[in-house]
Symmetry: C2
Subunit: 103 residues, 2 copies
DNA sequence: CTAAATTTGCCAAATAACGTCAAGACAAAA
DNA sequence: TTTTGTCTTGACGTTATTTGGCAAATTTAG
């Protein structure tokens, strides 16, 4: 499992010298669960990401981006044409946005 | 749900004038299930995509790419920074590949 | 209209993801 | 060495999601 997100979490947390226990309690989850989130064994909930951004004094949007990226990464990391897949998605995303803006 | 993949399936199938019933029977699934795959209500299995590529006389890699893209699309289509998310993933994918090739 | 093809809603089974507990590793402090 | 605090891991039961099929409805073609 990917750790783009979890690693960032850990970096920020260590910089602020906050124990996992502390963040876990604010999120109202077990320290084991929080540990797994950092390690990429469990997925944080969107809500939790926002809370974590506050606690770690970082930009929520940025953190959410990594959080999403993690999920995408896990989905295609094993594919040998991962990069091309991203291109296909990118094309379709922009197409959609164009349509949407016309309405 | 996305239909990047399903639409392609349908296009090819109609071009060859094959009824869903036929493809479904080769895949050994219900026609309803196959229908849902084309509509994007169900996900085809990787194996099935390969089989479908044969039946529809098209490139399996290409079809698999769309199949994967569909999954990614569904994951991030609702995000307002979808495009940026893809960039993050792309960076991490290439990083990984660089490392891998060094080994 | 009739028949074939496609689509939909719903269900039960299978699968995946979840959170917690208990046990353990590790390092720093006593 | 024993203790203390932090982090990590595996196993387990629970919950959520996904799956395939059936039956019924709808659409399409002849």
């Amino acid at each position: 499992m990917s750790t783009i997100f979890g690693n960032r979490l850990r970096t920020f947390r260590e910089k602020l010298q906050i124990p996992q226990r502390k963040l876990a309690s604010v999120l109202e989850i077990d320290t084991a669960t929080y540990c797994k989130i950092e390690k990429g064994d469990r997925r944080a909930k969107r809500e939790q990401v926002v809370t974590l951004a506050e606690l770690l004094q970082t930009d929520a949007k940025e953190l959410l981006r990594l959080w999403s990226a993690d999920k995408v990464y896990d989905l295609i990391a094993d594919e040998d044409e991962a990069a091309q897949i991203l291109n296909v998605v990118a094309e379709n995303i922009t197409h959609y946005k164009r349509q949407k803006s016309k309405i």
